[in-house]
Each structure stands twice: as structure tokens, then as C-alpha cells.
């Protein structure tokens, strides 16, 4: 199906069901809740030939840093059961190159652009936020305070007070909505989420990857050049779902669900558990057109749930005992 035909088909489906797909992340209004996660969609230009980028709720391009970074020594990824480990190490050309080379392309698309930034210090986060605030085409910022592959990259994501300070510093220094992306590699993710909310975050993205490792026992070597890496993919979905549930119950700000989502059922589970939007990550690697296909399936799934808007289903998980399994023969 051509992109035009697909767009038309979705428009028709929305008309028939009267389905409102839009969602609200604090000050950021999105046309739909299907986003693509940082580090899993390049700078979007790469995907232009495969995906109609105008249709997505938002694009989160690969995390940028103040200075260019080479990234980690290969090998950088390895597949694991139903998932993968990565230790890319924030390989990027720096904020100035991003504004010059990638932002002009990103702003052509109708999808919102949520720029993912990682600073080594609070001052660096603020200076990057101010620079992006002045640039054209930035819909929001996502603070990557959760990358497991960079020294010092997770301090802001593991210490509640450091998290609150950096979020507050960024929120006060720029005019665009701010999301904080959290790591699951903590004892109490709800406490970190509360700190981000107290700092004024418009929304909280959960989760980044789980720290993991792969070993070649014959060679007695780690498989990744950086020894450890972040685990992602379907293998981590239950952990992500649990984190979304915990965070959504702990804070009043919207939650963006990330972690192992690859089907429309996954999306619905995250929305019900409390996510106001979701990001597709590793699924983009194994199934490059997954984002728009799931978007095509969303109105029908929401209709099946008996709602007329995406926001209506958010956080509707009921505190009831699980339904007993019904044997197939009784259907």
C-alpha cells in the first residue's frame, strides 16, 4: 500500500469509529501516541524510504551530546534470547552538527521532534537545552539521564535529588516541554519518577535499557567491546510494563512507555497500565515498518476496548483479581 493510500485508510477508520488518537504529554500535544525511541531510529532521514514519517506521533532522534563522541569500541551489539545488548556509547557528532545537519530534515516531517540530550553535568544539560530552545523545529526535549553505556551517564537517573535538580534546571532554562527518561537499573523507580515530576517534567519516559552482559566462554572474553551493555527487545517487556505501572501510580504527570513493544497488543497493555504514549525501540531494527503498521491497527484496538479516544484507555487497569483462564472449548 502506498503511503497516501495508507493515510487515507487510517483517516477512514478514524472517521468510522470517531476515534481520537491524540494524546497530551504535559505541554506537548501529539497527534497520536505512537513514537519511536532514541537510538533506534537514527536521525529519521535513514527511515524516509521505508516509513511515512509524517504519520508518527513523534520522532525521538538519536541522543546528542555537547561535544562529538566517537562512541564505544566495537563490537557494539549482540543478540540475546528475544532481545539484544547494545553498547553504542552515544556515538554522535555533537549538538552543533545536529542542529546544522539533522534538525532541518526532521522539521520537514509532520511528526513532532523530541530531541534526546545527554549532558555530563547539569550545566551541560542546561546549555544544550538553551541552544535547542533557540533552534527551529524542536517540539520537546527528552533528557537521557539513563544511558548505561557512558561513564557518569546514569548519575542523574539513580539519585533522586540529582534527577530533580537537572530536570528543574532544564525546565527553568527553556520554553519547550521536557521529558525525563529513566533507567530501570534502580531499586525504586517510583522515587526517581517523583523527583523528575517535582523538578517539573512534562512527562516521564520509562524505561531505558537494562544493564546486561554476554560472554564468549570458549574465548574467555566478553562479547561486547565495552564489556557490558543495555538489554532491550521483547525480553524486557514485562520489566518495562511493571515500571510504567509503578511510575504511573506514583506521579501525576503522564508516562511514556518504552521497552520491548513490538505489537499492537503490547501497545494496548502499556496504555492500560498507565502510559499516555509509547515508544517503539528495538522493534524498528527487526521490523523497520512496525511503527506505521501498529498505528494502522490502533483505532480498531481502541474500538474493541470500547473507547472513543486513546486518552480514555490510559491507566484503566482495574484493581481486580486476574480473570480465570477460560478453556478454549467454552468459547
Amino acid at each position: 500500500m502506498t503511503p497516501e493510500r495508507a493515510k487515507e485508510a487510517v483517516a477512514n477508520m478514524c472517521n468510522e469509529t470517531g476515534m481520537d488518537l491524540s494524546t497530551q504529554l504535559g505541554r506537548l500535544r501529539l497527534r497520536n501516541p505512537i513514537l519511536v525511541a532514541s537510538g533506534t531510529f537514527g536521525y529519521a532521514r535513514e527511515m524516509k524510504g521505508l516509513v511515512d514519517l509524517n504519520r508518527l506521533g513523534a520522532i525521538v532522534p538519536k541522543t546528542i551530546t555537547q561535544q562529538p563522541r566517537l562512541g564505544n569500541t566495537p563490537r557494539r551489539t549482540v543478540e540475546t534470547p528475544a532481545g539484544m545488548l547494545n553498547s553504542i556509547g552515544l556515538d554522535n557528532d555533537g549538538i552543533d552538527a545536529f542542529i546544522l545537519n539533522h534538525l532541518p530534515c526532521l522539521k520537514q516531517f509532520e511528526a513532532a521532534t523530541i530531541v534526546s540530550i545527554a549532558g555530563r553535568t547539569e550545566a551541560e544539560f542546561i546549555s544544550m537545552a538553551q541552544k535547542l530552545d533557540q533552534a527551529e523545529g524542536v517540539s520537546a526535549l527528552e533528557l537521557n539521564i539513563s544511558c548505561p553505556n557512558v561513564t557518569g551517564g546514569v548519575d542523574f537517573g539513580t539519585d533522586p535529588e540529582a534527577c530533580r535538580r537537572v530536570v528543574q534546571g532544564v525546565v527553568r532554562s527553556c520554553g519547550v516541554p521536557v521529558l525525563a527518561k529513566l533507567t530501570p537499573n534502580v531499586t525504586d523507580i517510583a522515587a526517581i519518577a517523583q523527583a523528575a515530576a517535582a523538578g517539573g517534567a512534562d512527562a516521564i519516559s520509562v524505561i531505558n535499557t537494562l544493564l546486561g552482559m554476554a560472554v564468549n566462554w570458549r574465548g574467555r572474553r566478553p562479547i561486547l567491546g565495552n564489556v557490558m551493555g543495555g538489554l532491550s527487545g521483547p525480553a524486557i517487556k514485562p520489566v518495562a510494563l511493571r515500571c510504567v505501572y509503578q511510575v504511573a501510580r506514583a506521579v501525576d504527570v503522564p508516562v511514556v512507555g518504552i521497552g520491548g513493544i513490538s505489537t499492537i497488543d503490547d501497545v494496548m497493555e502499556f496504555l492500560v497500565a498507565g502510559a499516555s504514549a509509547i515508544q517503539l525501540g528495538t522493534a524498528n531494527f527487526s521490523d523497520p515498518t512496525v511503527s506505521t503498521r501498529i498505528l494502522d491497527q490502533l483505532p480498531a484496538a481502541l474500538a474493541e476496548a470500547g473507547v472513543s479516544s486513546a486518552m480514555e484507555i490510559v491507566g484503566t487497569l482495574e484493581n481486580k483479581p486476574p480473570q480465570p483462564a477460560v478453556p478454549d472449548c467454552c468459547h
Partner: protein, 291 residues
């Protein structure tokens, strides 16, 4: 630099689809030729480009595997029908793939990457190690004028002589060697254990072939394990012969979005940067690579 000015090859010509296996044939030890149906993809492919392939619907194994075009497949009337790729059984994914039967579904996306860029040359020398031989039958056919590729079909300047230096662990791993002879390629074999051809390294064979070639218009194309490609690049540099290498770095996506498959590529002023093999390659001028 022998190649045209560099710009990344994004997946703008790629198709992502579910296809049916037509044939899955063992052609050497642990080595299979897989044929699937996709006229659209077949029309677009150029020698040296690759595709990503996975078993449809499975979450484990999860990621696609990069496989080079072995050749396009046409119907009797010459219209494009499908694609052949060759894989070596290495792990979980390729072990499952070896059990695939006609009609089984695969997820594929391609064509990807730059491929080998044809240049006018008198003597083209292809050097392959192991399963790295897979892009070369199509390269040879194109250079010898027996097949055209691309949409619209590109015209290749052609080579008057095409040699292939092909090394493998042992004779039973050598695949498709009769094809090369049929195409009109001069074949020079090497095996680690001496069971066929030269007993030793394929790079020794390359040096012999170069000694016996008096042409002043030569070019080397190379694909195989990194130490082999590094040595071929050194030989090419010493003899001042243009050399292109097709890198086999591990990939997760094949389309430039994950930044896994990086190689150290030289930049001006003696520096280097990590470049994505999938969109900046997989074929590089050997002088660009910092091994």
C-alpha cells in the same frame, strides 16, 4: 579514490516485505543457497548490495541477518522473479533457516548499501575468503556482460579478464565453483588444509595471480574475514592497484538506525571516524579503512 564522491546509501530504494521461500539448497558444507520470490526487489538489486532477512513472526531469533545478493533470478522470458542469497550455518538463526522449506515465510528488507561500483578495467581480480565469496558471481556476470542489474538496467564498462582467488577451510566448504567457470571467470583456489588448490592462504594465490598479470589496468575487489582483507589491502597498496573491500561487521538493523556496524574510516588530516558499514558501505575503498 576510485569511487564517486561519498554520500550515505539510505534505504530509499529498499522494500520491506514478507516473502516465500522458493528453494533452500545445500551447495557446500554448512552452506545453503536460499531463493525467495520478489520481482520488485529483484529488479532493483545491484551486485555487492545486501538485504536483511529473518524468519517471519519469530521473536527469538529476533534480528535480521545481513546477506549479500548472490544473484537475481529471472523467469525464462527474462523478467525478474526473485533473489538468491547464500548463507553459512553459524548460529541459532542460520540453523533454523537451514530447515526452511518452500512456502515458508521470511521477512526481508533491501536492497541495502552501496554495492560494488563498476569501473572500466582490463583485469578484474576478485578475492574471497569463505562465505565472503557470495557477492562475486553477480559482480563477474555484470563485468563480463552476461547480466545487467538495476532499474533502469545499468551499463557496465566491462572487464576483458576476470579472475577469482577463492580460499576456504577445506574443499568441502568451497561453494559454487563450477558457476564461476561457466561464467568465464579464471578460478584460483586455496584451502587451509590443501584439500583443493593451493595449500595455504588465498592471499598467496592473489600474489601469484598479480605476478602473472601484465595488465596496467587492474582492480581488486575483496570480501572475507578481516585479517584476509587487511592483507589484500596491503598487497594492493604495495602494487598501487585500486582495491575495494566489502566489510562484514555485525549489524542489528542494516539501515543505519542502530550504529552497531561501525568501522574505522579515515578522514582528512590523518584522522578517522566510526562509519556505519550498512549505509556508508559495505563496500569501501581499501585505503579508507583503518584496520
Amino acid at each position: 579514490m576510485s569511487n564517486p564522491p561519498h554520500s550515505p546509501h539510505y534505504a530509499d530504494q529498499a522494500i520491506s516485505c514478507t516473502v516465500s521461500v522458493l528453494e533452500n539448497l545445500q551447495i557446500a558444507r554448512n552452506t545453503y543457497r536460499l531463493r525467495f520470490e520478489s520481482p520488485q526487489m529483484s529488479r532493483r538489486f545491484l551486485p555487492g548490495q545486501f538485504l536483511m532477512l529473518r524468519l517471519a513472526g519469530l521473536q527469538d531469533p529476533l534480528l535480521g541477518r545481513p546477506l549479500a545478493l548472490y544473484d537475481t533470478v529471472c523467469k525464462d522470458d527474462g523478467t525478474p522473479r526473485g533473489i538468491d542469497v547464500v548463507y553459512l550455518v553459524m548460529g541459532k538463526m542460520t540453523s533454523l533457516l537451514a530447515e526452511a522449506s518452500p512456502g515458508d515465510k521470511l521477512s526481508v528488507w533491501g536492497p541495502l548499501g552501496n554495492g560494488f561500483y563498476p569501473q572500466p578495467v582490463n583485469h578484474l581480480i576478485m578475492v574471497a575468503g569463505g562465505v565472503g565469496y557470495t557477492p562475486f558471481p553477480a559482480v563477474a556476470r555484470e563485468h563480463l556482460g552476461s547480466r545487467q542489474y538495476g532499474q533502469p538496467a545499468r551499463t557496465t564498462p566491462g572487464a576483458s579478464r576476470v579472475s577469482m582467488c577463492y580460499g576456504a577451510r577445506s574443499a568441502e566448504f568451497l561453494a559454487g565453483i563450477e558457476n564461476f567457470s561457466e561464467i568465464g571467470v579464471e578460478l584460483h583456489l586455496a584451502t587451509d588444509n590443501g584439500s583443493r588448490g593451493h595449500h595455504g592462504l588465498v592471499t598467496d594465490v592473489l600474489e601469484q595471480v598479480l605476478e602473472q598479470s601484465d595488465s596496467d589496468s587492474r582492480r581488486i575487489l575483496c570480501c572475507g574475514p578481516e585479517p584476509m582483507m587487511k592483507r589484500v589491502a596491503e598487497i594492493a597498496e604495495q602494487q598501487q592497484i585500486d582495491c575495494d573491500v566489502s566489510l562484514e561487521t555485525p549489524m542489528a538493523c542494516g539501515i543505519g538506525i542502530c550504529f552497531s556496524c561501525v568501522a574505522r574510516v579515515r578522514e582528512e588530516a590523518d584522522g578517522w571516524d566510526y562509519k556505519r558499514t550498512c549505509v556508508d558501505g559495505p563496500v569501501f575503498d581499501a585505503r579508507q579503512i583503518r584496520w
